[in-house]
């Protein structure tokens, strides 16, 4: 078995690839549903209805998609420049902590600043916190060649422990009865709701705006060109005069900032304080979303809505037919792998036998 590059990709292959990927994912999850002894058709229909079937379901899905769009963008810009930032989870928590530090501590006085200024400072602090957390691994990579995958992964664990220490100590909510949660954000800083009786909030516009901004940055600016050049071939980019270290640092700041903003927007839009379980792995799921979107910022929005729908739908479905919610994670993982394979198959064909 070997791969042979296709000279041209037919339209049929481009159409069939995503269909094959979806079919494979549905097949894998069908086997799991049957293992759990649940009716197949009902399970899938509940999964879909729970994610997209009503205004309420859609609002829940979009609410869940907001942090996923942002962590997906964080992974997109980093992976595009071949900076493998697997630390968005930690950067999200860093941003959330920074947001509460600016917008919630000090007995809720808010430093006596006007709300619009305090809100700006809160977002800035969150972006900066996420960016700084990634700056270390990026510099270690650029200067010493330390693999950023392992350092960013390990920093996630460090950051989560740091959050735990802060929630036990300086940022503890004294009224929370010993429950580990931070002090709440000032009420005026919270993002307003888009629809009454739902949780969907204006953070959606932040996420969509940043997706368009990142798309434009990558397509139309010099930095965007440098990022794409480095992603295509780092050595060639360096020869062509792309400032490699500077670009890596800027990409790290951008990627970390996006993940940090995800944390701040979650706090301001949904939870209003930091808890240790405020992110069920949004940082890691963001990487999957970036790959599903083939590192296209606008595709990230679509992929995030799909993944969020599966996650939300699985909650509803699980309550009704008792299939464990972990099936959502299996669906996401299986779709990642099958989309990767399907994309490759549009560029290559499998040939059986040894010699060409």
């Amino acid at each position: 078995m070997r791969l042979e590059k296709r000279t041209e990709t037919s339209r049929l292959a481009l159409l069939l690839a995503p269909i094959a990927a979806i079919a494979f994912t549905l097949l894998v999850s069908a086997l799991l549903v049957l293992w759990a002894g649940a009716p197949l058709g009902q399970t899938y229909s509940l999964l879909f209805k729970g994610g997209f079937g009503s205004v309420f379901a859609l609002s829940e899905t979009l609410t869940r998609a907001i942090p996923l769009i942002l962590t997906g963008l964080a992974a997109t810009v980093a992976f595009k420049a071949r900076l493998f930032n697997i630390g968005a989870e930690g950067q999200l928590y860093a941003g959330a902590l920074a947001a509460v530090a600016v917008g919630g501590l000090h007995g809720g006085t808010g430093f006596g600043l006007p709300v619009w200024l305090l809100f700006g400072l809160m977002m800035l602090a969150a972006a900066l916190a996420g960016a700084l957390l990634l700056l270390g691994p990026a510099l270690l990579k650029a200067r010493l060649g330390v693999d950023e995958v392992v350092t960013t992964l390990l920093l996630n664990f460090v950051m989560l422990l740091f959050v735990s220490a802060m929630l036990d100590g300086p940022m503890k909510d004294p009224t929370a009865m010993g429950w580990p949660q931070s002090v709440a954000l000032l009420g005026e800083l919270e993002l307003s709701k888009l629809i009454e009786q739902t949780r969907i909030h204006t953070g959606l516009f932040w996420a969509l705006g940043l997706a368009v901004a990142l798309w434009a940055l990558l397509k139309y600016t010099v930095l965007g060109f440098d990022i794409r050049a480095m992603g295509a071939n780092a050595r060639a980019a360096a020869f062509a005069g792309v400032p490699v270290t500077r670009t890596v640092v800027l990409v790290a700041l951008l990627s970390g900032a996006l993940a940090g903003l995800a944390g701040a927007i979650e706090v301001a839009g949904r939870t209003s304080y930091v808890t240790l379980d405020m992110s069920p792995g949004y940082g890691y799921t963001g990487i999957v979303i970036a790959m599903l979107a083939a590192l296209n910022p606008l595709g990230v929005v679509a992929a995030a809505v799909f993944v969020a729908g599966v996650l939300v739908g699985a909650d509803t479905m699980s309550r009704a037919v008792g299939v464990p919610t972990y099936i959502a994670d299996v669906i996401v993982a299986a779709s990642l792998i099958s989309v990767l394979v399907a994309t490759l198959m549009t560029q290559y064909r499998l040939v059986w036998g040894r010699k060409p």
């Binding site: 270690l140 693999d147 392992v150 992964l153 220490a165 996401v332 394979v341 490759l344």
Partner: protein, 310 residues
């Protein structure tokens, strides 16, 4: 200070060091085999979860303990085969494929656990491996307190070294990891060698996971691997991809991990307990930084090889 010295001199401390080191030794050897053949395997974190779950489930279902270990190894090998298909057969990005495997193996294990035990408050337990009492009185007290899986891990260190440096198979593995074109020229199949190395390495990762459920503890918990797989990936770099140094690295890491546990309970230094728990992860990062200048990465690591393409 004297209290600390007392802790270090006592046998229970060193017993803990060797126990903590065991899954790291197994996992690091697994990563080492894959990377020596030129393939990064970030699937380790999930493969350890899958090994921990499948091995434990087999024993819970009535299988003997060693059969449980075999099941864990086979589970690891199966995910290794998938990783090999993606990274060697299809030459996809090794980073992304590995993370995909971790996600898939973890979620499948958690799903399997919840399907098998829908409503349990206390995790069901098995009778784990017993300490090696037959070594009592030989003066090897620290080893006698361990289970046979630790002995297996220790025995695998010279075995993997022998395989890599003294056998044709080992030479082939090192060749495809350094210069696949040259290896192909010598008639070595890059695809077959890499696939075999990944499958064998992933089997070791599966056993590393099984140590947690069949020896260190007696049940399966969510989040029980808790970053140990990522630590192994760091330890391999620290060990310069050498089995002997991998053992040393795992023991050194376990020493500091056991030490922070003792310091935490001793109350000698008054800081939040989370600071102690951070130390192992921070130490791993520090180890990476220290060896960065002279790290001799296998030359073809993370470079997919497509026959006839440059």
């Amino acid at each position: 200070m004297t209290e600390l010295l007392d802790v270090l001199a006592a046998a229970p401390f060193w017993i803990a060091v060797l126990r903590i080191a065991t899954p790291l030794i197994l996992g690091t050897l697994g990563v080492l085999l894959c990377e020596r053949a030129g393939v990064l395997n970030l699937g380790i974190e999930g493969i350890m979860v899958a090994g921990a779950f499948s091995g434990w489930l087999a024993v819970y279902g009535g299988a003997p303990l060693w059969l449980g270990v075999m099941v864990a190894a086979l589970t690891g090998a199966a995910f290794g085969l998938l990783h090999a298909f993606l990274t060697v057969g299809l030459a996809l990005s090794q980073h992304v494929a590995g993370l995909g495997i971790t996600l898939l193996a973890t979620s499948l294990s958690y799903y399997g656990y919840r399907v098998s035990f829908p409503k349990v408050d206390t995790p069901p337990t098995v009778t784990p491996f017993a300490p090696m009492h037959w070594l009592d009185g030989t003066g090897l007290d620290v080893l006698a307190a361990q289970t046979p899986l630790t002995l297996l891990a220790l025995a695998l260190v010279p075995l993997v070294a022998w395989l890599l440096y003294r056998t044709p198979a080992g030479l082939a593995i090192r060749m495809v990891g350094e210069n696949p074109q040259a290896a192909e020229g010598q008639g070595v199949s890059v695809a077959a060698t890499r696939t075999a190395a990944i499958v064998a390495g992933s089997a070791l990762m599966g056993v590393a996971g099984a140590f947690l459920t069949l020896s260190a503890f007696n049940a399966f918990f969510f989040n029980m691997v808790n970053g140990r797989g990522w630590v192994c990936v760091a330890l391999v770099v620290f060990a310069s991809w050498r089995p002997g140094k991998a053992l040393l690295g795992a023991l050194l890491f376990a020493f500091f991990d056991a030490l922070q546990l003792r310091l935490q309970t001793s109350g000698l230094i008054n800081v939040p307990y989370q600071i102690y728990l951070m130390l192992p992860y921070l130490l791993s990062i520090l180890a990476l930084v220290l060896v960065a200048r002279k790290a001799a990465y296998p030359q073809a690591l993370m470079k997919p090889y497509r026959k006839g393409e440059r």
